[in-house]
């Protein structure tokens, strides 16, 4: 089993497309443009044989950030592409579910809680709040947007 760390190869492959690169032991965080996310995700998932652990939406002062966490299991390294969505009122980005089937639920959850619309998602509907007792007129975690 090849347990080589492939971080350097990855950085070389996508040179110019990655910004705000944070490199820690076995962790690589970087910002990628929305138009490139599907290509980057496909390379990480198919070519590097990484597994999608999950994705995390976070609200920061000027954007909604969506951070995908891919695990390269043979080496124990994490590759984390981050997409910053500036339009906080109508956050929209490309879905990676067409290339990573395992992203289906987590993207639905982020749509559900953070109101992020994922373009080309096969089933763009709420995941956890479909049976919510309240009639929801906004995503559950969208209240803190100023």
């Amino acid at each position: 089993m090849d347990r080589t760390d492939r971080t350097d190869d990855f950085l070389k492959k996508f040179e110019g497309k990655l910004t705000n690169v944070i490199r820690k032991p076995k962790r690589l965080y970087f910002v990628v443009d929305d138009k490139d996310i599907r290509e980057v995700a496909q390379y990480i998932f198919r070519d590097m044989a990484c597994r999608l652990s999950t994705a995390t939406a976070t609200e920061v002062y000027d954007a909604i950030e969506v951070l995908y966490q891919f695990s390269h299991d043979p080496s124990g390294c994490y590759f984390c592409p981050r997409v910053r969505i500036k339009d906080k009122k109508n956050p929209t980005m490309n879905s990676i579910t067409p290339v990573v089937k395992g992203a289906n639920w987590i993207e639905r959850e982020m749509f559900d809680f953070w109101g992020v619309t994922f373009k080309d998602h096969p089933r763009p509907e709420p995941l956890l709040s479909r049976n919510h007792p309240n009639k929801l007129d906004k995503p559950l975690r969208f209240g803190r947007v100023s």
Partner: protein, 397 residues
Amino acid sequence: MKLSENMNQVPVGPFHPLLEEAEYFNLTVEGETVVDIDLDIGWMHRGHEFISEQKTFTQSIFLVERICGICSTSHPLACVHAIEDVDNIEIPERAAYIRTLVGELERIHSHLLWLGLAGHFIGYDTLWMWAWKYREPVLQMFEIISGNRNHYGVMRVGGVSRDIDLDRVKELHKILDTVDAKIKMIAAAAPDDPVLKSRLVGVGVLTNQDAIDMCAVGPTSRASGVPWDVRKDEPTDAYGLVDFDVIVLQNGDVWDKLVVRLLETLESTKICRQCLDKLKTVKGPILNNVKEISAGEGIGRYEAPRGEVFHYVRTDGSNRAIRHKIRAPSYVNIPTYSASCKGIPIADALITLAAVDPCYCCTERALRVKGEDPDAIDFVKLSREKTERIRREIHGH
């Protein structure tokens, strides 16, 4: 899915005497064959991620311990790993062995619990009674270690909260010997059992490609030939210091999932024995004094009995996380039903659904009902109003 003339829909749940948790499956059947399955989750309202972001790091550890009654060490362990990952904090060697011991004991009791349930689901109650009987001493070991049979409160950032003295180590050794003998007995008997084999071999197959595509984890993926195990891939705590094997099988059916768990239980007893041996000789502190966590991001994970538990924290230099993401293994394993349940007889659907050892309270850790929304329903208030209404109806005033 569009229904044809020969198709029917069979709803299971969300509330049903057989189901331990609120869960809903809509099975589309053609004759007796399942042709499609729709899953509907979101029946439990918990809000752990949001609440954790209001708590200090230490309080969060207690909170996440209560996400799941079975994985009550996996979540806090992944949580402390995530917080430690922000600053690359190291822990004392003795603490590493205690963490690993508690984690592996949890795996033993969880796998035995599943084994019993699996036996019960297929009407083989002897297996259920055996497995649960021999799970009991493991809970006693937890009581010796922490004072509790569940929710042990052991994990801390920088180490563990309590030590295990030599007398207790000897006591634990004795109980482990008993447990080990009994598990070996089950592990020898179960694979030769004709009832189990005829009921489980070839049932609910998850192919290797489906397991990879759907990012399945733990015994669910290892039974389909995917060799990943966090304990080997990123060995934290004492996993790099002990000897054990990762169990991987190839067929992906319910039988292989059962055998993976049985063999993993034996590996866990092996790890526990090594940890207890080391606790006799490795001395020193059990907790590094961590004064503050700097601003940054951390990923923590742990191989829970059901697979990888994942925690992500984002910090701003204060004493709490500004974002705490939690992903339980069931969250990625439950969607595999859409691959493993199609084409099987409806009678096999139940054990196939149970085979991933699903945990819905973990899966639905995020939803909350009451919070910033002033119009949200307050269930406590509703409950009180109902009690008052019934009281008035009975007493007439």
